[in-house]
Amino acid sequence: MEVFANLATGFAVALTATNLFYAFLGVLLGTLIGVLPGIGPVPTIAMLLPITYALPPVSALIMLAGIYYGAQYGGSTTAILVNLPGESSSVVTCIDGYQMARKGRAGTALAIAALGSFIAGTFATMVVAAFAPPLAEVALKFGPAEYFSLMVLGLIAAVVLASGSLVKAIGMIILGLLLGLVGTDVNSGLQRYSFGIPELSDGIGFVAIAMGVFGFAEIIVNLEHREAREVFTNKVSGLWIKWKDFKEALPAIARGTLLGSGLGILPGGGALLSAFASYTLEKKIAKDPSQFGKGAIQGVAGPESANNAGAQTSFIPLLTLGIPPNAVMALMVGAMTIHSIQPGPQVMTSNPQLFWGLIASMWIGNLMLVVLNLPMIGLWVKLLQVPYRLLYPAILLFCCIGVYSLQNNVWDVLMTALFGLIGWLFVKLECEPAPLLLGFILGPLMEENLRRALLLSRGDPTVFFTRPLSATLLAVAAVLLLIVLAPNVRRKREEAFHEA
């Protein structure tokens, strides 16, 4: 079994003291920002990117990955105790988790969320280990035409999952692609859209965009609303699970894990979609659906397992194809690029230590999450009581320092402010920013592969349809688009996002 040999390599890397430390730091930070509403994994990872510059690449990626799945975990704590999603993917957990807390079962809800996440995380780690190598082999056969088609598929998938208007989501992708072109053109050396500003010759800083559009814009919008937060902290005494509860929750955990693992692999998938799908499934197959919304344990166990599984398997497209399926993975591309690692199928062969070390650390990180969070829940609850008026200036400050230290340059700080303004405008116009970031990341790659594909085919555009792999990918993209455009699905999709 090659998988086990590979995993052994991975554990050897992940279990070194340094990497254990960074995994721990990652999950701790991740849980922290997951617990705090108003700051998600995207700005946090963006903020820490510059700091990882000094770390060895494996440690850097292990820490950033820890932040991502730690955030999924921390988000559920806030959802259960405050009825506020600490993370977008724990929106669903609010529904039944908060009801359980109100009935005095907060301890059970938290414990089942932790256990479900751990089981899901363990399984998803195995899925990544088992599926990544064969997929990477397929990916090695990819030529420029296939890469281009694959990116089209990824972008279409991102559109499908963006909430709100499809036209706007496609527009945001194109806008992102255009922003990605700013700077020196690799083929001709020509400066495009740089307006003679030397700082723009290397392109717009990806962190500046991510932090402005996601971080600053969200803070500004939060400040516009005068909402009082009510923290449900009266009675979180000890975490325990009765055997009866566990037996009730276990099938839901299993289903959520499978569903999440599958959906996470899809480009554009990940934690949010998995949690939604799992909740719908649990409600459909429940013997007594009326219990849902009133504190059904399956309504917590299923989605919590699914979002964690989905968060982990969304590493598969990144590690095998080099294509980021969501905004967090786009940041991971940024992190890999900082360390001059080109994400893609060759990572596994050229950098086996990094690849398997990262995978092994996912499991270790999940174990740490359980160990860390069950006893520390009291601390997280305290944190929830820090008022937002003290929190946001600190977040702004750390963002500014993070952006500055990227290149030791104030230019990026000013750009972040500009993108904060643009991001705020997007919120007002209901334009989802996630596709923009994806487009921005993929822009240069897409142009490069389009050029190469057409160069090889001597300008014949049918090359995208005559090569079987490429044609299949485009067909899948077309089907996805048609499905979403179908009136029936369209209505359902709007309902699903509306509930969120």
Partner: protein, 152 residues
Amino acid sequence: MALIRHPKDFWAGVLFIAFGGAACVIALDYAMGTAARMGPGYFPRVLGLMLCALGALLVLRSFKLQGAPLSFPTFKPLAIVLASVLLFGLVVNKVGLVIATLLLVLVASTASHEYRWRESIVAAIALAVFVVVAFRYGLGLQLPTWPPALAG
């Protein structure tokens, strides 16, 4: 404004047309090339045109679809948050980390409707200390702690 029934779509469309149009116009200066040998102007022009088309679609649609009006409850947080960040960016090299941090936190704090000035002063000082210890000395951030002019 009865003509525009979906203001959010309308303005998003205008934004797309503006960006796409500008991208196309600027790209006119870049060599187009042929499909087989694309110049640097090819991809941007195609994208710019697509963005314009989508924008036009949104604008046309906004005359037909019904949508909620744009809401701007207050511009205060927008102005203050962006101002505090710009301020930090513009002065940090001249006045050093401590003063820039104090300025950012004190200015940014006023954006909240729960603003309390005494509290924000304490928070600013605490954060300045933390930033210097953690980032300047802990992580070796390349920024002066105090105004470089004073150090002479």
